[in-house]
Symmetry: C2
Subunit: 382 residues, 2 copies
Amino acid sequence: MTQTISINDKQRLQLAPLEMPNRLLLGPGPSNAHPDVLQAMNKKPVGHLDPTFLALMDEIQSLLRYVWQTENPLTIAISGTGTAAMEATIANSVEPGDVVLIGVSGYFGNRLVDMAGRYGADVRTITKPWGQVFSLEELRTAVETYRPAILALVHAETSTGARQPLEGVGELCREFNCLLLVDTVTSLGGVPIFLDAWGVDLAYSCSQKGLGCPPGASPFTMSARAMEKLQQRQNKVANWYLDMTLLSKYWGQERFYHHTAPINLYYALREALRLVAEEGLANCWQRHQKNVEYLWEGLEDLGLKLHVEREFRLPTLTTVCIPEGVDGKAVARQLLNEYNIEIGGGLGELAGKVWRVGLMGINSRKESVDQLLGALRQVLPN
Amino acid sequence: MTQTISINDKQRLQLAPLEMPNRLLLGPGPSNAHPDVLQAMNKKPVGHLDPTFLALMDEIQSLLRYVWQTENPLTIAISGTGTAAMEATIANSVEPGDVVLIGVSGYFGNRLVDMAGRYGADVRTITKPWGQVFSLEELRTAVETYRPAILALVHAETSTGARQPLEGVGELCREFNCLLLVDTVTSLGGVPIFLDAWGVDLAYSCSQKGLGCPPGASPFTMSARAMEKLQQRQNKVANWYLDMTLLSKYWGQERFYHHTAPINLYYALREALRLVAEEGLANCWQRHQKNVEYLWEGLEDLGLKLHVEREFRLPTLTTVCIPEGVDGKAVARQLLNEYNIEIGGGLGELAGKVWRVGLMGINSRKESVDQLLGALRQVLPN
């Protein structure tokens, strides 16, 4: 080994082993992970083509179908965070020149616009003030006007706390021969979802919210109709890492090597999904609903106003109006530093106007709410 | 909560908590993770904008600069596996129509070809039989001929076990005003690398090999010259998740939210890098070299031949010729099932012809070699 260059030690930090604070994560995500999930994640890695790992991938696929209520064969985890799964739906469905109609009523609708444009889509948008949702009639008018190849909607807008109803949208899309793409990042595991019954063709989510798992392995699914569009493409998918023509051969029977999966995160995801299946979806959804109603009541008792109309509020994420004269950032900082509780601030149009409070996965429990309300009682001016 | 659709329990698997076998991972990766790294990974997640997490990101940046021997400000972890980091270098450097010259002497050179094409590159290749490397003269001739905007080389070809010398290549690229892009997936932490001294402009790696960390958070770096090309682009980077104009604002002073980082994997990566810094790069490289020489000796004592000429063999990954008449797959299967040892098979041109044996990170130690040689003595026909 010849080595004539000398080693530069300038960036060689001398650090102690890692210590991190013990936070109660009640922001828009990540949420705390279930202790059993952390324990599963901590097992020693095996190889990404180990027979035991391939069996675990099959379990993840089945359980993801269960939590999403779909029978789509191609239902997998993307080896990245929710944004990567979002990009996977766009990259695999959009061909240059396709009209993509996007419902924008928050930050993540805008992200879809930016992303679809990068894949050559002819993007059209319909918009609503942040915190509101589209009616089926509004969607029909827009689809009739723009005749899109894809309609993209955000089921649970993480930036506003609003739930976009999806009943009837799938039928509308079929009537106009259009694919329905849906963001379920802040709904999966916490909000009723019926992908097949609703006629959703492409959906993505994340692991660190309703599923109670650390972030980094993100649910993705596509229907037979979406697969057909993929198979008829003229050009390769403009993204190698997220190309479903390749990934489907790793997750499918062929087991072709594509990339080295984040092994331990898949352990964690499998365990998180197992726990949801054990609890049962109906119980899990009801728990999220019950605890958020308890939160809403407590916040209103403190004299706080909620940003979203009750009918469309998410059970997973609540936007709370920052009272006039209160420094929202200072309150969040105090909660973090003095109470080890994280809540989120507003994004985009809602920056400085709301706090975002998440009750997701294991954190959707009465004790979390009591802890937050107790701290708020101390921190907020009387 | 109105809910008239009934829940489908068909995919609701009833599973026991996760159990995984205890493998010694001596294939091309993942390698076993250091116990301290697993312990760090297991700490509870905090938020991706938590001040303690932002401090941890800074530590990762410094330590990545140290292990790569670079002072590039934009030296970060990509929230995906090594392939995502590979794609990040291509996506951020290639503009449609750019001539990209790629040295192909193995599977990962071919992957770069496929990827660069998807980003609109005018791809040219030079090739060598798998297991050989390019001389500086061959590279000069090719650069003179094709006048590329980018020259891409694989420092450590994981499919062949060959180490591509890089001395002088950076000067050549500067002479022809071309960026140098290098794959260091199987070299970082195990093979001497001096990115700045060698004039490398873009590099990527992974966490699960020389660094001894689980997969899923992957090193990426780009030089000031590469940043300049990025800033002068006519169009947005054709990949949202990996766009450095956005990511640099999350990792830089602005701390703009981009995506939810895989928090626990960053804990693990920080700890893995800390351990390399503690051992010291020179010691770490020497350990890899010493243990692989012990392996080579042992394999040759068993009558096995190595595929790559000694001068160009990687200390991290060794390709072993499968003797005539031996069923390579059956041997690997038996090692896995009876000895809990994983080794890899050949890819592409070398499929069926070689085994791939990795000694990386914590697995680069005498005991791993002894364990493998002992098992091979039992399994191989006399």
